[in-house]
Each structure stands twice: as C-alpha cells, then as structure tokens.
C-alpha cells in the first residue's frame, strides 16, 4: 500500500503539471485547453449564431451545417481527423498534437456554444429591447447595452457547464498524445511491466483529479445560478 502511495506521490508533479520540458502538461494543460477552447470558441459561436439569423439563405445553411457537423461528430474522431489532415501535403502547413487538439476543441465547443448563444438571445424579453429603442437607441447600441448583458447573464451557467464538459472531454486527447492528463498517465505507466501493480491506484487518482475539479466548479456554478434564479429545468437542459 505504501509503495502505491509512493508511486503516485513521486509522479504527481508530472501528472499535475506535465513532464519537465513539456510544461504545461497534465491536469494543468487539460484545464488550460478547456478554458482557451471555450473563450476562443465563444467568438466562433457568436459568428455562427449570428449567421443563423442572417437574411441570406446560403449563409444560414452553412451555419446550420457547421453546427450539425461539429455536434454530430464524436470529439475523438474530430481530433484525429484534424491531426491527420494537418499535413504539409494536404493543407500546406504542419500541425503538432497540441495545435490540433486546440483547433478540434474550439470547433467542437463553438457548435455547442452557438446553441447556447441562440437560446440566450431568444430569452431576452422583447420589452427590454423595445424600451431601449423607444428611448432612441440604435439597434446596434440596443444590442450591446441591453440584449447582450441580459443574455450573457442567462447563458453563463450554461457556459460554465460547457467548460466543465470540455475539461472532461480533453481526456480523449490521449489518442493523439497531446500532453494532457490521460497522456501523461499512460506515459507514467509506460511499458514497464512492474508498473502493472499501480494501474488501479493511478487511475483512481486520475479519476479523483477529474472529479475534484469538475465537481468543485459545478458547485460554484450551481450556487451562482441559484442566485440568478433560472428555472431548474432550464439549468439541467443547458448544462453538460
């Protein structure tokens, strides 16, 4: 039992932060990737969400297909496709696992976020916007000063849910070897047969790490959202 704990303890710097020379990695990288992907994905989501409301038919069609594709594909498949396609001959530039991972995560989350954005904008009560217009504000100004803040307040719990979900989804990056937690776990076990005895404790520890972060953040989000008084069903419908 002692040696199990010793094993975990001695490898915890790598599991949490990555191998020296490859930092950030491990749990830290999983968290960073999730946050980065959500933030960058948000801008894509705005674009696509706006495109969905466009007056132009083809634009609407492209945006709808974008959402269909990146929501209909399993993330693991998307990640592998981007990694393989990012080859010099096909696309003309090179991609390393980390870049491919980020691109895939951004595309994936932007599709889900587009739906959240749409729901959020739809939830703004018309009277708010109309009052602003009546008071003389331009449509654009009304959007930024009335609709967006209101919608953002509604959407935030859903976004946090997305972030948590994405954080857990970074586990599939093990398939392209981006240095996140699962990849490091595999590397730590390595090909050393004497490590077989540590398999259980190591995966229990990793499960605990994921659980710890995901649960903690979800608790914070729930408390926040209780303060905003959104209906419970909407919460469950829009979170991970």
């Amino acid at each position: 039992m002692i040696e199990q704990i010793e094993f975990i303890y001695s490898h915890s710097p790598q599991l949490l932060f990555g191998f020296p020379g490859q930092r950030p990695g491990g749990l830290l990288l999983s968290v960073m990737l999730a946050i980065l992907a959500i933030v960058i994905g948000f801008f894509f989501a705005l674009l696509v969400g706006a495109g969905q409301q466009s007056r132009s038919g083809p634009v609407r069609w492209v945006c709808q297909r974008y959402i269909d594709i990146f929501r209909g594909l399993p993330l693991i498949l998307l990640v592998i496709i981007i990694y393989q396609l990012g080859g010099v001959r096909i696309l003309g530039f090179d991609i390393n696992p980390l870049a491919a991972a980020l691109i895939a995560l951004v595309l994936y989350s932007s599709a889900y976020q587009a739906e959240i954005v749409r729901a959020g904008l739809l939830s703004v009560p018309r009277q708010h916007v109309e009052s602003a217009r009546v008071l003389g504000s331009s449509p654009l100004r009304a959007f930024f000063t009335v609709e967006l803040p209101y919608a953002l307040r509604v959407m935030t719990p859903a976004f946090v849910g997305q972030a948590i979900s994405l954080f857990k989804d970074t586990s599939v990056l093990v398939i392209i070897g981006a240095a996140e937690l699962m990849t490091i776990t595999r590397a730590v076990l390595g090909s050393d047969i004497t490590n077989l005895q540590h398999w259980i404790t190591l995966y229990l520890f990793v499960g605990l790490l994921y659980f710890g972060i995901a649960y903690a953040v979800s608790l914070i989000a729930r408390r926040w959202e209780e303060k905003s008084r959104s209906s419970e069903l909407v919460h469950s419908l829009t979170t991970y």
């Binding site: 191998f19 709808q64 297909r65 594709i69 001959r89 595999r186 590397a187 004497t194 077989l196 398999w199």
Partner: protein, 286 residues
C-alpha cells in the same frame, strides 16, 4: 428537410475524400522532381523532422525521467548529425508512422518499421538497419513452440506487421485461423496475457524481451514466425532523399558509430536486452 441536408453533407464529404485522394497521389510523383526533393528542403531548413515512437522499449521510449531515449532515438540523432542538420523528433505510433510520411509531416520515420512489400506501395524504405524476428510472449510453461500456439487467442498491437504475418504463417503451416485481439495499450496486452485472457502476445522479439524484462512468469517462444528487417521510412518516390539517407546510414556503419550505439543498447554490460547483431548493413562503394 433534415434528410436532404444530410445528403448534401455526404456528397460534400465524398468530394472532399476524393479530392484528398487525388491530392495525395498527385503530390507523390511531384516529389520525384529533383528541385522539390525532401533533401533540398531539409538542407534549407537545416532541420530534419524524424518520426520516432515513444512507447517501444528499448528502441524508442520515454524513461522514468520523461526523457526520450532508445536505440532508434540515438540512431536518428546520429543520422541528423551525419546529414549536418538539426533534428526535430515527432511522436508517432504504429498507426501514424506511415500516414505522417505520406502527408509530409515527417521527413523520415525511424520507428521500428518492418520493411514489407505491402508498405512499399505507400512509402519507401532505406537499407535495413536492424534485424530481428517476431515470436510470442507466453506464460511460462504453457507453449514451447509456434505450432502449439496456432489457432489460439493471441494479442498484437493494432497496426503491427505481426498481424498479417502470423495469419500468413498459420495459413502456410496449415494451422487453424488465429484469433487476434488488437490492443492499443501495451501494458493492457501484458496484463491480459498474465490474466489468461489471451494465450500469447506477438511483436518484435526485441520489444517482447524489453516488456517482459525481469518478469519470470513470462517467456519467449524460441525462433519466430516473421523475420523482420527494419528500414527507415521515407516519403515515396523521392530517390534523391533516399540516397542521402542511405549514404548517411552507411557512413555511420563504416565509421563505427552504428556499432557503438548498438553495443550500448544490446551488447554491452549496460545493455537492456541481449541481442546479437543479426545482420550486416549493405555498404556501397563510391
């Protein structure tokens, strides 16, 4: 409405797929043109990108400190030195070591690649730089020869050349069709072997010996069903680059660097595994 959209999607994907097929096949004959040879590009970039595996002791693996080490790693570094360029190692696994060459993500792959005719359709190889065989790791005392393990449930790494080789060998020897379980995780395969889920695990002997080092409950069936010759994977139809890599390899053999690396890993006192040199590199005169 939804059904029509899905149809459009499929059509688009089909076109993209066919476009990619034509791009990959068109790009290849283009590489035969001297001015666009990989060699020129490597020289101008002063860097060679080498695909190396990271889960394959003792040839290329990540050790306890997280350093990338192994025979293949040392050889790749020596080659880069011989070519006079810097090295950039790219992680590959059994599944990507070929596709990355095809896509130009790496300039060469020093990834314990068995030189087979089937693979020659997709990529090219350097001269052989390592000789080995493929046999089975079994629980001690269970099977003593290849005949006994024929038709049994065995494991192999997904994408390994051991899979078609074992099927062919079984067919050749008139044995029953084998049942092969493909693992992506070496340790999982080892655990399955020890648990009795599978009867044997086939891979290059050098890998099996390294995996089972120190474990007395496992032993290697003597001999092998598939003599392997490792070659460095190279982009297809690029003879200028292939020549340069071959010359570099031969220089390493001639000036003793190769032997030094080999001894360090397989012959000397610190050798991880004992494996006498199984062949001799072909060296061409001027």
């Amino acid at each position: 409405m939804k059904k029509v959209s899905v149809l459009y999607l499929l059509i688009i994907l089909a076109f993209v797929a066919s476009a990619c097929t034509s791009v990959t096949s068109a790009a290849n004959p283009g590489a035969a043109d001297d001015s666009s040879s990989t060699y020129e590009r490597v020289l101008s970039d002063e860097t060679v990108r080498v695909g190396v595996r990271f889960d394959n002791p003792p040839l290329s693996f990540v050790d306890d400190e997280g350093d990338w080490v192994g025979f293949d790693v040392d050889l790749a570094n020596a080659l880069a030195g011989e070519l006079g360029v810097e090295i950039e190692m790219v992680k590959v696994d059994e599944l990507t070591r070929i596709s990355f060459l095809q896509e130009g993500k790496v300039d060469m792959a020093v990834a314990s690649m068995n030189h087979t005719r089937q693979r020659d359709d997709a990529i090219d190889f350097s001269v052989t730089y390592f000789w080995d065989n493929q046999s089975f790791l079994v629980r001690a005392g269970t099977y003593a020869s290849l005949d006994e393990i024929m038709g049994m449930k065995v494991a192999a790494n997904a994408g390994s050349s051991a899979i078609p080789a074992w099927k062919a060998y079984s067919a050749l020897m008139g044995g029953p069709e084998p049942e092969i379980v493909e693992f992506t995780d070496k340790l999982a395969a080892m655990q399955a072997l020890k648990d009795g889920v599978i009867e044997g695990y086939t891979e290059d002997n050098i890998t099996l010996l390294a995996l089972a080092a120190g474990d007395e409950t496992l032993e290697l069936i003597p001999g092998g069903h598939n003599p392997v010759q490792f070659g460095i994977g190279l982009p297809v139809n690029d003879s200028r680059w292939r020549d340069q890599v071959n010359y570099a390899l031969q220089e390493l053999w001639k000036n003793g660097s190769y032997q030094k690396i080999y001894t360090k890993w397989f012959l000397g006192a610190d050798a991880v595994i004992e494996l006498p040199l199984g062949g001799e590199m072909e060296v061409w005169p001027e």
